[in-house]
């Protein structure tokens, strides 16, 4: 396999580009000169442990690096004494560089290397060898043991007969012949997660099971509204809304497929697309205006798995290909969650555990004493850095880690080490946790009126200033309290429903983009999980696209996801009489 070159985000023509190679991972990325190695590792989708949050204090992020690097500064020199060994969080690239990760935990930031689920390759789409053409009057396609009902295939057969070539290889989906040719060829599938904010797609070789390429991009529907409800409102106000949303998403998926396969001809070798996503996003794929989903009792139009003919829905893959929309459990516990549960083998975890996917709505699934309970909490977008005075997406210049040391010195990092421009979700949680830990913010969420003189000057007008321009305000803290309170209350209610005490909860599996780069200690400190939770926290990344991938590779996983749909007991939190009490109790830090 040849090295892939991924472009780093936020390209700036004025800055020199250099290439960073990861020979062991067969990867190469392009970054700006001056980028820290830790950022290169992250950009490449790899993980290196940074226990001190990249502050250069612990020396745990040592890597072997060769090539053109800036010389180490004093801080870094304390930890390095062997040739070619550098601290990833400190060393910066000057020219082309080769990096070897040393840490044992070296892994891709995808969950197939984290919570690995062993699955056998058993796709419904397979390549088969066809019997030779006999000299009889019976149509060849009717002589086969597979069914075939496609005029397209008749046309293809006609062409083969004309050229006198033999149809030696067929592509079947279950017992249906969907393609034929004289040569064996690639059989491809695409797994897609349609998130409210972002799309992820994997190109998969269905013959080998290998993931060939991964792409992600912003959901183009964001221009019609940032969250699920505002997009539904858009449909409410615009009769053309559902069509536009459908067009936007289908167009984007087609674009992703073409990017993944590189050519139209190769895109024709894609025979199946499996799509996971939240319930609303799947409605939009079908061009459905889910008005009833946005009003109590929050009734979706459909939840079942939907199989679509690729040609009919305008997917530019093989015309006989199938587009599968995975089933959802309820209006607010969607296929993305079911896929995530399948990908993490969540039902097979043999101790009490919760699965969390945190976004504007925080979905929670609990596996408690043999029951699978699910709910969705209206957390709001605060934990993603939205609706926060200096909040921003996880982009260049976003403060992504933060720490206050014993001398009240602030330490923080920004994405790509750019000039700080705002605070993204992970930074926000670190900041809140640090303020609480240092008692700069009290348990009630209020700024402490009695502050250590070393930190006092940073608080002006109920705002804590990290830099001259960037601050976190009292009202930002209130937004965070509302968000985490809703999630913690949801977890408490699911626990109460099964009668299990909080202490018995052994694990919290955190899925989604939210989990990345977040310090688990900060999650505990702010009380995103109910206070008293002592279990471990596991981050699994985008488990939704991973579940779609597994469903593509093995038809039993698809069955399993459908079984999960039936097994999950979904609770509506907003009408639960216990919710307000739990919520109010969970607001404090």
């Amino acid at each position: 396999m040849s090295a892939t070159i991924n472009k780093a985000a936020g390209n700036d023509l004025a800055v020199n580009k250099v290439t960073v190679h990861f020979p062991s991972e067969d990867l190469a990325i392009e970054v700006n000169e001056g980028t820290r190695l830790s950022e290169c590792i992250r950009t490449a989708g790899l993980v290196s442990e940074t226990p001190c949050n990249g502050l250069g204090l612990c020396g745990k992020c040592r890597v072997a690096a060769r090539g053109d690097l800036f010389p180490p500064e004093e801080l870094e020199c304390r930890f390095i004494n062997e040739p070619n060994i550098r601290l990833a969080c400190q060393a910066r690239v000057k020219g082309d560089v080769w990096i070897e990760l040393l840490a044992k935990e070296k892994q891709l930031q995808t969950i197939d290397h984290g919570l690995e689920v062993e699955i056998e390759l058993d796709s419904s789409v397979k390549q088969v060898l066809l019997p030779p053409l006999a000299r009889t009057a019976q149509p060849y396609l009717e002589s086969l043991s597979y069914s075939c009902d496609s005029p397209d295939l008749y046309r293809k057969m006609g062409k083969l007969e004309l050229r006198g070539t033999l149809p030696s290889y067929g592509v079947i989906r279950d017992h249906l012949l969907i393609d034929l040719g004289s040569e064996p060829s690639e059989i491809l599938g695409v797994a897609v997660d349609i998130g409210t904010t972002g799309l992820s797609a994997y190109l998969i070789n269905l013959t080998s099971g290998e993931t060939l390429l991964k792409k992600s991009c912003l959901n183009p529907q964001t221009e019609f509204g940032g969250d699920v409800l505002s997009r539904i409102s858009y449909c409410q106000e615009n009769p053309q809304g559902p069509d536009r949303l459908q067009e936007a998403i289908l167009h984007k998926v087609n674009e992703l497929v073409l990017e993944l396969t590189a050519t139209r001809e190769r895109a024709e070798r894609v025979y199946q697309i499996v799509i996971a996503g939240n319930t609303t996003m799947l409605h939009f794929v079908l061009g459905i205006y889910p008005a009833s989903l946005a009003r109590a009792p929050y009734r979706p139009i459909f939840l079942e798995q939907v199989n679509l003919n690729a040609k009919e829905i305008g997917m530019q893959i093989n015309p006989a290909g199938l587009v599968v929309l995975l089933p959802s459990a309820s209006g607010y516990v969607g296929a993305d969650i079911l896929a995530g549960l399948a990908a993490t083998a969540f039902v097979k975890i043999d101790h009490p555990a919760v699965f969390l996917d945190i976004g504007t709505n925080g979905e929670i699934v609990a596996n408690l004493g043999g029951r699978l309970l699910a709910t969705s909490a209206a957390a709001g977008p605060a934990l993603e850095g939205m609706n926060i005075s200096c909040g921003c997406r996880a982009e260049e210049g976003a403060i992504d880690t933060f720490f206050i040391d014993d001398n009240y010195e602030l330490k923080f990092t920004t994405i790509s080490d750019a000039k700080p421009k705002g605070i993204c979700g992970s930074g926000l949680i670190d900041i809140t946790a640090s303020l609480v830990k240092r008692k700069i913010v009290l348990a009630s969420g209020r700024f402490n009126p009695k502050l250590d003189p070393r930190i006092e000057a940073r608080i002006r007008d109920k705002k804590f200033y990290l830099t001259e321009e960037i601050y976190i305000s009292q009202s930002d803290l209130r937004q965070i309290q509302l968000a985490k309170g809703a999630i913690a209350a949801g977890v408490s209610i699911l626990l109460e429903e099964t009668g299990l005490p909080l202490e018995s909860l052994e694990e919290a599996v955190i899925a989604g983009a939210f989990g990345y780069h977040i310090n688990p200690d900060s999650i505990r400190e702010i009380g995103l999980l109910p206070k008293g939770f002592r279990g471990k926290i596991t981050f699994v990344g985008n488990s939704s696209v991973e579940g779609a991938r597994l469903a593509l590779l093995n038809k039993n996983v698809l069955k399993e996801i459908n079984e999960l749909k039936r097994k999950l007991e979904v609770l509506e939190l907003s009408t639960d009489p216990r919710f307000q009490d739990y919520f109010v109790k969970a607001l404090g830090f």
Partner: protein, 216 residues
């Protein structure tokens, strides 16, 4: 006003602000034991404390838990004082019909507004959540309410607020019954557009409601 009375009124207000339910009950009992006017005890003691708590909430010094604890103290004090009220103190309260609009079941915000309205002396009729527009209008007519207060957390149910106003206009009641609205997605701009009054939070809602009944 006697010294002891003004001292007790101040203490009542303080104990509400300090979220001290037990102390509020003790002070209320003491207040009655001194044969002082329960009506003033409510308005210039408990309600004043709640008003101060509301201001702290507005200033973000207090948050939902604190506001609720203050209201627990206030209601506990009310339970002591109310039985001693004379009949004529009970009748001339202004009335407000409150609820979460149809299609929405998120009601914590509404519950906070209700507390602050009760504190300021309104008689509040709570229709709960997921309430059809016509129910608000019918109830308001029936009990001769001064104000309808509407809340929603979801953008998709906001139009229910406009429907309430249309129904009022249909019966030519829009001048008698004022409509005030609030909730996550609601802005002053939206309120202006549909002809409603906007309250940014629970404390502001109480101030707004008072000014609305003064206008009448």
């Amino acid at each position: 006003m006697s010294d002891i009375k003004s001292k007790l009124l101040l203490d009542l207000a303080d104990s509400v602000v300090n979220m001290d339910e037990e102390q509020t009950v003790e002070l209320a009992k003491n207040y009655i034991a001194h044969n002082l006017d329960p009506y003033e005890g409510i308005n210039q003691g408990l309600a004043l404390g709640m008003d101060r708590a509301g201001t702290l909430y507005e200033e973000e010094e207090y948050f939902i838990p604190e506001l609720l604890m203050c209201s627990d103290a206030m209601y506990a004090g009310l339970d002591v004082l109310r039985p001693h009220l004379k009949q004529d103190n009970l009748e001339d309260n202004h009335k407000i019909v409150i609820g979460v609009v149809q299609g929405d079941t998120h009601d914590i915000g509404k519950n906070l507004v209700k507390i602050m309205l009760e504190t300021t002396g309104f008689e509040v009729i709570d229709l709960g959540r997921d309430v059809p527009p016509l129910d608000f209008v019918n109830t308001a007519k029936e009990i001769k309410a001064d104000i309808i207060a509407l809340s929603t957390l979801m953008t998709t149910t906001m139009e229910g607020m406009q429907e309430v106003i249309r129904l009022l206009e249909g019966e030519n009641l829009q001048n008698q019954i004022k409509v005030m609205i609030g909730g996550g997605p609601i802005s002053k701009g939206f309120a202006d557009k549909i002809g409603a009054y906007y309250a940014g939070d629970a404390s502001k809602a109480a101030v707004l409601a008072q000014s609305l009944v003064k206008e009448v």
